[in-house]
């Protein structure tokens, strides 16, 4: 019976589902074993046509009201209204900023958790967390208004580091709920950008409040002007990018170390048949850092050996993967869409998850194997009885981590060798680029400066900067849009900064190696990559680390020659395979920061053309950045390039640069050094 039913059901075509061979192999393997994956469900369950358009309102019990844009609607006399009279614009805008609220909450709650751990480290209450990167602490402190020096008897002296850490912790935590003022990090943006925000009245006050206000404004019968709704959407998104996310990145760097380039590997092939494989999945590095520390310790390695394994292999999925990669070189097991597949290898002793992007489907897949699925976060649990919950808190971090690792090792002997199939595929990656390390690598200890990058943008070797980020989405072939967009950009001499699952996809495809430059890049970018010794695609970390892209772009503005504001830069943003509400928040803080931001797949705005036009065109007049939707990846990249060229022209660097020879009179005109 069961067989008969299976035959009737439509299964995913592995090759059509992913461009990645390892993924294709594992989809096939799952189908052999009769295990359903998201790829199969994607065939069966199609997205809701009305929801896709963004015009379904279910904010009260009079509805849900659905106002699809059909051929019958006259664009000049669009009289679609909900029960309460809300226009499609109001509905789409409300839905849109609720997505921003959800996304901003996710990043910011992550940030809050890090800030709390930071506080316990600053108070020296934890045996697992310490202030590791004191230089970064000193760099960050002034931005939070924390003094790093003190005056003693008229002499300026360095302030006690513990004292600084404590005040940084207090100030940082205050950002979530302070009673007055505005977010402190906003002033890290170029001054003209800050002035635009101020003029438009979108300076966030505190992180939590902006989310709450969205929920209020989108309640039935409150804000019914899409422009005013988007204003709050902007305020909330900025509270994410220049608030919660940025604080998360900074405090994580102080606690766990600022990333510097290192070598590792990516894809499911990093799992080892003769090792205990522990896959860490989710987003916060708070837990994973300690698991890495414990799993790499001799005690646990010996214990694993005593259980017949050769050692412990850690691997990451989603942004946790990026976090432990950039700081410890722990390899990437795969992207968001590969989470089930890691278990289907049959060689995963434990999958440890925390928050965000973790599928409930994992519980079902884990049941088919010996894999222990361990949830660790109090706010993220699963109903299935095979899921183990080990709640992790910063005061017992080491203890908890040991318990988890030990549980995985003990599980090694339960592995069914007949069910093990690990794909061979993996590729080397160079990761660990950040604002600081990029600066260093552009000139070393003595001359490190973003000016080197700017100079090569000005002279045209590099055409511009592309930030390509975001998730996977079952509605497009896994990784295809990611890789196609990135390759098209670098082919046209656009250097790519990547985070999140795009970063993992690029790693799996081998694009994060310096050797890639000679194969895929245009001649100018290839030459610069060769000079600096970098890949043309720079891995900047996890999705909260999109804040690194904001700050890197700010450094580019500061280094001079490319305008005065982020919106002047020859740059564009992209999320080719986005799916989560976090992506909408990220997309919008990039737009509000002046960046042309193109999404792939779809955007829930099609049902409200006026609102769509507001996002795609009117926004540019306000912020210098705007939204766009281009599902075709080649066209997607080309529109980014066209925008970059537009900015180059505005900067007057669209023509070949002349070689200016200076004589003494020219030199005398130079500004004071």
């Amino acid at each position: 019976m069961a067989e008969e039913k299976e035959k009737k059901e439509k299964l995913a075509d592995p090759v059509a589902s992913s461009i990645d061979v390892a993924t294709q192999e594992m989809i096939r393997r799952a189908q052999q074993l009769g295990i359903e994956t998201a790829f199969d469900r994607g065939e069966k369950l199609k997205p809701c046509n009305i929801g896709t358009q963004g015009i379904c309102c279910k904010n009260c019990a009079m509805g849900p009201c659905r106002l699809p844009l059909t051929k019958g609607v006259d664009p000049l006399n669009d009289d679609r209204r909900s029960i309460c009279g809300a226009t499609p614009n109001t509905i789409a805008a409300r839905n849109f900023i609720r997505m921003i609220a959800a996304g901003a909450s996710a990043h910011s709650d992550h940030g809050r958790c890090v800030a709390e751990v930071f506080m316990s480290a600053a108070r020296k209450e934890s045996d697992a967390y310490f202030i590791k990167d004191t230089q970064k602490l000193l760099d960050v402190a002034p931005h939070l208004g924390v003094a790093t020096t003190v005056e003693v008897d008229g002499q300026v002296k360095d302030r006690d580091l513990d004292e600084i850490a404590l005040e940084v912790a207090e100030k940082a935590l205050g950002e979530w709920g302070k009673m007055e003022g505005e977010l402190l990090y906003l002033k890290r943006a170029p001054e003209p950008r800050y002035e635009i925000w101020k003029k438009l009245g979108v300076l966030p006050r505190n992180i939590d409040r902006e989310v709450v206000e969205i929920m209020h404004r989108t309640h039935v019968g409150v804000d019914q002007d899409y422009k005013n709704l988007m204003k709050q959407g902007t305020r909330c998104a900025l509270a994410d990018g220049w608030g919660g996310s940025m604080l998360a990145t900074d405090l994580q760097d102080i606690l766990f170390g600022t990333p510097y380039p290192l070598q590792s590997e990516a894809n499911l092939g990093i799992m080892k048949e003769d090792h205990v494989n522990i896959i860490i999945h989710g987003h916060e590095p708070v837990l994973s850092e300690i698991i890495v520390q414990v799993a790499q310790g001799q005690e646990m390695i010996d214990y694993a050996k005593s259980k017949g394994a050769k050692g412990i292999q850690l691997g990451g999925i989603c942004c946790t993967a990026n976090e432990i990669l950039q700081r410890h070189g722990v390899p990437l097991a795969g992207t968001y869409l590969q989470q089930e597949l890691a278990i289907i290898t049959g060689a995963c002793e434990a999958m440890v998850v925390d928050i965000q992007c973790v599928w409930q489907a994992l519980a079902n897949v884990a049941r088919c194997f010996h894999t222990k699925l361990i949830t660790t976060h109090p706010i993220a649990r699963m109903e299935e009885d095979n899921v183990i919950h080990i709640e992790f808190d910063e005061h017992h971090a080491l203890e908890d981590a040991k318990k988890i690792v030990k549980m995985a090792i003990d599980n090694f002997q339960n592995r069914d060798k007949n069910k093990v199939l690990i794909p061979k595929h993996k590729n080397p990656v160079i990761a660990g680029f950040g604002v600081e390390s990029i600066e260093y690598h552009l000139g070393g200890t003595f001359r490190g400066s973003y000016f080197t990058l700017n100079d090569n943008i000005i002279n045209g070797r590099i055409r511009g900067i592309g930030g390509v980020v975001g998730c996977n989405n079952i509605r497009v072939r896994h990784n295809e849009a990611h890789i196609t967009v990135v390759k098209e950009l670098i082919k046209n001499d656009v250097i790519v900064l990547t985070t999140g699952c795009n970063a993992i996809a690029c790693g799996m495809e081998g694009l994060l190696t310096p050797e890639t430059a000679q194969v895929y890049c245009g001649p100018g970018l290839a030459e610069v990559c060769e000079t600096v010794g970098i890949p043309p695609v720079l891995h900047l970390g996890s999705c909260v680390d999109n804040s690194r892209i904001l700050l890197a772009a700010t450094e580019v503005v500061r280094a001079g020659g490319l305008g005065k504001d982020l919106s002047d830069l020859p740059a564009a943003g992209s999320a080719p395979e986005w799916m989560s509400e976090k992506a909408i928040s990220i997309g919008h803080y990039f737009v509000a920061s002046g960046v042309y931001t193109v999404f792939g797949v779809t955007l829930p705005v099609e049902g409200a053309p006026v609102f769509k036009n507001y996002l795609f065109n009117e926004m540019e007049k306000l912020y210098g950045g705007m939204w766009d939707l281009v599902p075709d990846p080649i066209e997607h990249a080309r529109k980014m390039i066209a925008h970059i060229d537009k900015k180059r022209k505005a900067l007057g660097i669209d023509k070949a640069r002349e070689r200016v020879l200076l004589d003494m009179a020219d030199r005398q005109k130079l500004d004071a050094a």
């Binding site: 260093y440 070393g444 001359r447 310096p514 970098i534 004589d663 005398q668 050094a673």
Partner: protein, 736 residues
């Protein structure tokens, strides 16, 4: 390709740091750790280490710290595949190699003190051809040429050319373009310095060809020179590496020429130079680094043919050198200014024991013919080898904007303009001029008329705004020369009296001088009739002429305005100007005081005066004097502390000429306060000093001023002053 450079350079850096470490260990084993390490006569310790790291190395022991930093800078080796980024590490490795080089050279001065010849000149006959570190006197003197633009930059050549002719070709081309040529390292034992000597080229600081040393480590002296200039003239602080390196990138137009095979150590040194923004241009097929950023344009350019080396190099560095061609059979340019005509090379001379006179006179436009050069009497072809012959150079100039006030200024140019001719040496001025002509010059067809051609061409070029016509007559008969001399002496007398009568009170306009702002961006000089520019190069009249010639140039008129303090010499208009020009750093200054808000000082000053409180007087020291002074500081230390536009009470920079001007420190008691100056300075300004002493009623003042033969401590000086009854002792306390 850059990967190969990185790979090699990092290897090279490891070698050089290991070598320096070995040398340090060995030296520490054989010598006391407190043994002094220094480059002689400099106030900048080991200058690259001091300027970039802020570490003053004084003893062997002190070398441990920079060595440790160099070791820490050494990056991991570059992996063959999937390597980490290497540009930053490459530049760090280069820097480590350079720190190691400086340590190596510092130890060489300890272990082999006679290896380098001190001073500006080499001695090929005894095989002493390596000059090592430039002392501060040279650095300041030559540094000024970088400041005022007479030297646009320097070419650091490492290795050796394939043959003597090629070496000459390249180096002489740089000379013609006014660049300094710094030589270091060898190619299989051959060096450019030796090739030039073999080719009969004079080398040494005076011809701008400086043989630093035979090893790659001696290239560090070029960078030390550049960084000292940044500190001395740019007013940058030691340890402020970002700004010092940026200053070099923007303002010191230097580059490296690598001649011959580039080994790992050269690659390391070249990578180090990139930190300065100095690119490498090589004649061999090494990997190129063309993208820009750290340097203004390319970083490494390879395979450049020798015939294009010079042109390519200055282009890569982004330098514009304008050389006007002067139609004479000899090379011409500032690089030949310091060249000597020695006894063995001498064909004949004018002046010395016989009369040689120069005079520039204004003429009516209709009176003279532009470009006419006449030699009256025998020319070189008719003068016997070894002869001394009289000479009169009479230059007549005309121009609608010309004034008789400009005559002495134009006349003063004859000295260096004649000296710029290769194979011709000019000494002195006015009626004590002396010209020596080398055999090589005569062989190439040089004639006295060519001096006329040079003056005609250069006057037109440099003074185009005020000069329309130039006519030159050269007399070589005694009678004519004597007649010209008599006329000239009458002229000189009139001129001197005119200048003498000019006072600060009789003019309403002073002049600013920002000539050195290309190097010292915050310093502003103000020049009045009774306070000439502290560099000694510009007096009030020069500034006036300069303004006429170039109304938007570095000399701008300042309405001196209301006199706020006649004793100390403070003027409202000047204060306002200085406040603006110093970007608010300086609110006011006094012309005639070093105790109260003295004028700011730049690194170019000729002399520095300092209060000696115990003696109730002041001392002054000029930059050629390298010894100790009673202030407890040598000239170079004084200049180092107050150069770069600082205003420091108790000290002031001034020109040597200023010492005998009437307003010199008038607010503090004037010249009668002068209790000490180096003997050589006393000699130099003797006549005027005696005259000024008489004016002040102390005819034997010169004898009452102590010098280094009396002592270099305040106590010794005081004892002397008491013995001779120096007037300063009975004056009111200098520090009220």
């Amino acid at each position: 390709m850059s990967k190969l450079v990185a790979f090699a350079a990092i290897q090279g850096a490891y070698n050089m740091v290991a070598k320096a470490e070995g040398q340090l260990k060995k030296t520490l084993a054989s010598k006391d750790a407190a043994t002094k390490v220094e480059f002689p006569n400099t106030a900048y310790y080991l200058p690259v280490i001091y300027s970039l790291l802020g570490i003053p190395v004084k003893t062997i022991e002190d070398l441990r710290k920079p060595l440790a930093i160099a070791k820490k800078l050494l990056p991991p080796h570059v992996k063959r595949v999937n390597h980490l980024p290497y540009l930053g590490p490459l530049l760090d490795a280069g820097m480590a190699a350079l720190f190691a080089s400086e340590i190596t050279e510092g130890l060489r001065y300890v272990n082999d003190p006679d290896f380098y010849v001190p001073g500006e000149e080499v001695d090929p006959s005894s095989g002493k051809i390596w000059l090592g570190a430039a002392d501060d006197t040279i650095m300041r003197k030559r540094g000024v040429e970088f400041v005022d633009g007479s030297a646009p930059g320097f070419a650091a050549i490492v290795g050796a050319a394939p043959d003597v002719e090629t070496a000459k070709l390249i180096v002489e081309d740089y000379q013609k373009k006014n660049l300094y040529i710094f030589l270091a390292a060898n190619q299989s034992g051959t060096t450019v310095a030796e090739q030039l000597i073999e080719g009969g080229v004079q080398i040494g600081w005076n011809t701008r060809i400086v043989p630093f040393g035979p090893d790659i480590s001696s290239a560090i002296f070029a960078l030390g020179f550049a960084n000292r200039a940044a500190m001395a003239f740019g007013g940058l602080q030691p340890g402020d590496y970002k700004r010092i390196l940026k200053y070099n990138k923007d303002r010191v137009f230097a580059f490296v020429n690598a001649l011959g095979e580039v080994n790992a150590e050269w690659a390391a040194a070249a990578a180090g130079c990139v930190n300065w923004g100095f690119p490498t241009i090589a004649d061999t097929d090494i990997p190129e680094i063309l993208p820009t950023g750290i340097c203004t344009y390319e970083h490494v350019v390879a395979n450049v043919p020798h015939s294009e080396m010079v042109q390519k190099s200055i282009e890569v560095r982004g330098l514009k050198v304008t050389v006007t061609h002067i139609d004479i059979p000899l090379s011409y340019g500032p690089a030949f200014e310091g060249e000597r005509v020695r006894k063995d090379d001498l064909y004949c001379q004018f002046g010395g024991k016989v009369q040689c006179t120069e005079l520039v006179k204004m003429a009516e436009m209709s009176e003279i013919e532009d470009g006419k050069v006449t030699v009256v009497g025998p020319d070189l072809a008719d003068i016997k080898e070894g002869a001394s012959n009289p000479l009169g150079i009479f230059v007549q100039v005309a121009g609608r904007e010309f004034q008789t006030d400009f005559e002495p200024i134009i006349e003063r140019q004859i000295h260096h303009l004649t000296n710029y001719i290769q194979g011709v040496m000019h000494i002195g001025q006015r009626d004590i001029a002396w010209i020596r002509v080398a055999k090589q010059a005569v062989e190439k067809g040089f004639s006295l008329a060519h001096i006329g051609k040079v003056l005609h061409g250069k006057f037109h070029q440099d003074f185009t705004k005020i000069i329309d016509k130039v006519q030159v007559t050269l007399f070589t008969n005694k009678a004519d020369v004597d007649k010209l001399t008599a006329q000239a002496r009458a002229e000189y007398k009139t001129r001197d009296e005119r200048v003498d009568k000019m006072t600060d009170e009789t003019v309403d306009i002073f002049y600013s001088c920002t000539l050195c702002q290309s190097f010292a961006p915050t310093h502003v000089c103000t020049v009045s009739p009774e306070r000439t520019g502290l560099c000694g190069a510009y007096n009030w009249m020069d500034c006036k002429a300069s303004f006429e010639i170039n109304p938007t140039g570095p000399n701008q008129p300042i309405e001196k305005g209301e006199c706020l303090d006649s004793k100390y010499g403070q003027f409202k208009g000047v204060n306002e100007f200085v406040y603006k020009a110093s970007r608010g750093a300086i609110k006011s200054y006094n012309f005639y005081s070093l105790v109260h808000s003295p004028m700011t000082t730049c690194g170019c000053c000729e002399a520095i005066a300092a209060v000696l409180p115990l003696c109730n007087g002041v001392m002054t020291v000029h930059r050629d004097y390298t010894g100790d002074t009673p202030s407890g500081m040598k000239f170079t230390t004084l200049a180092g502390q107050m150069g770069g536009g600082a205003q420091s009470s108790g000290f002031v920079g001034h020109s040597k000429y200023n010492v005998t001007q009437r307003k010199f420190l008038a607010g503090d008691g004037g010249l009668l306060r002068m209790v000490w100056m180096p003997k050589s300075l006393k000699e130099e300004i003797k006549d005027r000093l005696v005259r000024r002493g008489k004016e002040l009623g102390v005819p034997d003042l010169i004898d009452k001023i102590a010098d280094e033969t009396v002592g270099t401590t305040e106590e010794e000086v005081l004892a002397f002053l008491q013995k001779v009854g120096h007037p300063a002792l009975s004056m009111p306390p200098i520090l009220e």
